[in-house]
């Protein structure tokens, strides 16, 4: 199995439009969550929200706003590209530039792309249908139809950047971004690809918002691990990481940011309904990743988790991670970036990876902004509400993400 390294990164988030900007924003405790402006909440002809538990969902979300794609992408025609793909194009471009994979190199060699996304664009497919229904099928939009398939953003990014290698899309809810990293890592590790851009993208739209709200998943206090948490807040964005073989990177003199050491994926057959089973699935994913990476819990010095304020999800993740790490769970520093970024669904896992890289670089671990107290019996000792500078820069991070519906993915990343 070949070593797989990261040679470039890109990020577009509500609080930053570059990886450096993201690290600074996380370090400073800035929050992505603001009043929703992308769609008119009140005009949605819905005044819902009573799940019967007295909880009101957050009317806040993390929007990439203002978003002027031409600022980043130049004058090429963006009309055929929908918002989800535009977010991805910005992040992808940064990662390609940062890694030094020039247009000439991409013309000569096959660079791949693996995208994690939960919906790609549910807005595009829904708008396509609304227009076809309201105006009749002759007036359906061909451009929207092309973007209604779930691999559309990955296809657009390939066309935009001449990426002719393996191109794939993977979905697993909130775990999609990490699943994409794992998938791409294996393609390179086992010699099926030389270089693959891996990441996640998700746009915020009212279809997603309404859907999540109706299912009771959104909360007004979307703070990871907080004893008073009541659900998550949605966000959008995109992040991309250029992955390639260590030998390939060395041969072209590329700067290595980090190494992907291993990964593990599991499923909770109770789909989150049984907390024990949910924690078990998390624990197994972590264990598989550690085994794959050939590291022990005590070797780890950072956890970047997917906790987002879900009452049960956060608890299952904490329990499962603690189960797998044993005594190390008591003091390993923990970051839960969704405290600031919100839940960006398919993009989240990629943001988690960038968070680890930022911590490697600066030795600074962002706090879980807004955390007041964890609940009784909370098993992870290294959670803090404020940003900390560690005595030593972390070198080995474990990333974990679980979807609300049962998919778990863990990835081990090592500093360069």
């Amino acid at each position: 199995m070949r070593r797989v390294v990261i040679t470039g990164t890109g990020a577009l988030a509500p609080i930053a439009d570059s990886p450096a900007g993201l690290h600074a924003a996380l370090r400073e405790g800035r929050s992505a969550l603001k009043s929703i402006e992308l769609f008119p909440l009140d005009a949605l002809n819905w005044n819902g929200i009573n799940h019967g538990n007295g909880v009101n969902p957050s009317r806040l979300a993390g929007e990439v706003r203002p978003f002027e794609p031409r600022e980043y992408l130049g004058d090429r025609n963006l009309r055929p590209v929908d918002r989800t793909a535009r977010l991805l194009l910005v992040a992808a471009q940064q990662a390609l530039e940062g890694s030094g994979w020039t247009a000439e190199m991409r013309a000569a060699r096959e660079v791949g792309l693996v995208l994690g996304t939960m919906f790609c664009s549910v807005r595009t497919i829904a708008e396509f249908d609304r227009r076809a229904v309201q105006l009749g099928p002759s007036y359906a939009s061909p451009l929207d139809f092309a973007n209604s398939v779930i691999n559309a953003a990955a296809g657009q990014a390939a066309i935009w950047n001449n990426l002719r290698g393996i191109n794939s899309t993977i979905t697993g809810g909130e775990a999609s971004g990490l699943l994409a990293l794992a998938y791409a890592m294996d393609l390179i590790g086992h010699g099926r690809a030389e270089a693959v851009l891996a990441g996640g993208a998700e746009e915020l739209c009212f279809e997603s918002y309404l859907g999540h709200e109706r299912a009771g998943r959104l909360g007004e206090r979307p703070i990871p691990f907080d004893a008073q948490r009541d659900g998550f807040a949605l966000a959008e964005g995109a992040a991309a990481l250029m992955l390639e073989s260590a030998e390939g990177a060395a041969a072209r003199g590329a700067r290595v940011l980090a190494t992907l050491r291993g990964h593990g994926e599991t499923f909770d057959p109770s789909a989150g309904e049984d907390e024990g089973a949910a924690a078990e699935a998390v624990a197994r994913a972590v264990h598989l990743a550690l085994e794959d990476a050939e590291v022990e819990p005590q070797d780890l010095d950072l956890l970047v988790l997917s906790a987002n304020g879900s009452v049960q999800g956060d608890r299952a993740e904490a329990r499962g991670v603690a189960q797998a790490l044993g005594p190390r769970a008591a003091d390993i520093p923990v970051v839960a970036p969704k405290a600031q970024l919100g839940e960006a669904l398919g993009a989240s896992g990629a943001f988690q990876a960038l968070t680890a890289l930022g911590a490697f670089d600066e030795g600074v671990v962002p706090g879980v902004t807004g955390l007041e107290a964890t609940e009784e019996g909370f098993p992870l000792g290294g959670v803090s509400s404020s940003t900390r500078r560690l005595d030593r820069r972390p070198r080995l991070a474990l990333l974990h993400a679980a979807s609300t519906d049962g998919q778990c993915c863990a990835v081990v990343v090592e500093a360069a």
């Binding site: 829904a126 249908d129 609304r130 061909p142 398939v149 002719r164 794939s168 998938y183 086992h190 998943r217």
Partner: protein, 404 residues
């Protein structure tokens, strides 16, 4: 470490029947799965045919979950999965759940859920959209439902690479098994018939008004369909150890991206050729080793022409004597299920020595042997399954006979 991987179980729900036996018998008999669309009103469309799955009751196959709480594609997928597992002779408890996983593909997931959402929204009743939208619509739920139904706790992934998704999922399952990350993988694809998908292809002018005629000079387009197919994949040693019936080995795969256009293939069949060559390379085979090609063969003027071109590029002199047929001539284009159903076809072609026809073929548009109108006995040692998708996603998977 690299295990050899084989197909030990097959399950499918298609426009020409459900279950491996029925589907295979009907395909060899040239049965048509086309009929006037029933699931929505095509009054405003200029075409009215579809390849829907008619009269299928998922209840006997969906035993753990409640079929009423699954989207259409999930119902088809879960049914196909259970059929495949039973066909493989794997009883519950025979495989450790943590070592059994699911890898599936789809084009649109559960588009009917978007339609329901919109119907309410457009009627001013957004408030009546329920919790079910987020528990049914996201396409990862299809794989999750299969895993949940069967109690599988390993990898559970959805690879929605549109009309090539089934092949991508099978390739992913192959990789996981080769590397020992699982002992059993259920791999395949599913898609549901919907007004969204139909409207889209209709708007592109891609739907044939009367017949689906892949590779025919007078072909006028594709006909949308729906379905699901799942293959049970496991390491060869494991299959032999438990005395499983082996259909074929999954010998290799090739994936590529045209990076050219969202809905039109590369004009020289470049990506398609690279996918085929990649698969042959992965399997350690040459083009002349291939006994049969299951074509993507949608019936559109462009696809069939470029696909023929790509095959000629890769196979050269061997092309005219390598039979290539398209079952889409019978089951239409079942989207993400297509290459999974066609993988089932390849597995059975290898196992039985029969190849299905390209139906409705009156005037072949090219010099290849498209197996016109009649199934044929053929010694299939190696079968290649090709699939091409929107976004320029190309995938070829090779199936090979396992010598005793």
């Amino acid at each position: 470490m690299s295990h050899r991987v084989v197909v030990t179980g097959l399950g499918a729900v298609t426009p020409v029947g459900a279950g491996k036996e029925e589907v295979w018998d009907h395909l060899l008999a040239g049965q048509s799965g086309f009929a006037p669309v029933e699931s929505f009103d095509t009054g405003k469309f200029s075409t009215h045919l579809g390849a829907e799955v008619r009269g299928f009751d998922p209840a006997p196959w969906v035993r753990t979950l409640d079929p009423a709480r699954l989207g259409r594609a999930s119902q088809l997928a879960v049914a196909a999965a259970r059929m495949a597992l039973e066909d493989a002779g794997i009883a519950p408890g025979e495989v450790s759940p943590e070592r059994a996983g699911v890898a599936m593909g789809t084009t649109s997931g559960e588009p009917r859920e978007v339609e329901k959402f919109n119907d309410r929204f457009l009627a001013g009743a957004a408030g009546s959209v329920g919790a079910e939208f987020i528990t049914l619509y996201p396409c990862h739920m299809i794989a999750a439902h299969v895993a949940r139904e069967l109690g599988l706790a390993g990898v559970c992934t959805m690879i929605p690479t549109a009309c090539a998704a089934g092949n991508y999922a099978i390739a992913h399952g192959l990789d996981l098994l080769r590397r020992g990350r699982a002992d059993v993988m259920l791999a395949g694809g599913a898609d549901a018939f919907s007004r969204i998908t139909y409207s889209g292809f209709h708007r592109l002018g891609a739907i044939a008004p009367e017949r689906c005629q892949p590779f025919d000079k007078n072909r006028k387009g594709m006909i949308p369909g729906e379905g699901a197919a799942i293959l049970v994949l496991e390491p060869l040693e494991r299959a032999r150890a438990r005395g499983a019936r082996i259909y074929a080995e999954v010998a290799g795969y090739g994936l590529s991206c045209d990076a050219h256009h969202m809905t039109a293939a590369h004009p020289e069949g470049d990506g398609a050729a690279r996918a085929m060559e990649g698969a042959l390379g992965d399997a350690g085979l040459k083009p002349e080793d291939v006994s049969y090609v299951s074509a993507h063969g949608t019936g559109t003027p462009t696809n069939d022409r470029l696909e023929t071109l790509a095959v000629l590029r890769v196979f050269g002199d061997a092309a005219p004597r390598t039979p290539m047929s398209s079952v889409k001539s019978m089951i239409g284009h079942t989207m993400g299920a297509a290459s999974a159903i066609e993988a089932l076809v390849c597995s059975l072609a290898v196992a039985t020595g029969w190849i299905p026809p390209t139906m409705n073929l009156e005037e072949p548009d090219g010099d290849l042997d498209y197996v016109p109108n009649q199934a044929r006995r053929h010694d299939v040692r190696v079968a290649m399954n090709n699939a091409y998708a929107f976004g320029g996603n190309n995938a070829s998977v090779i199936f090979r006979r396992v010598e005793a």
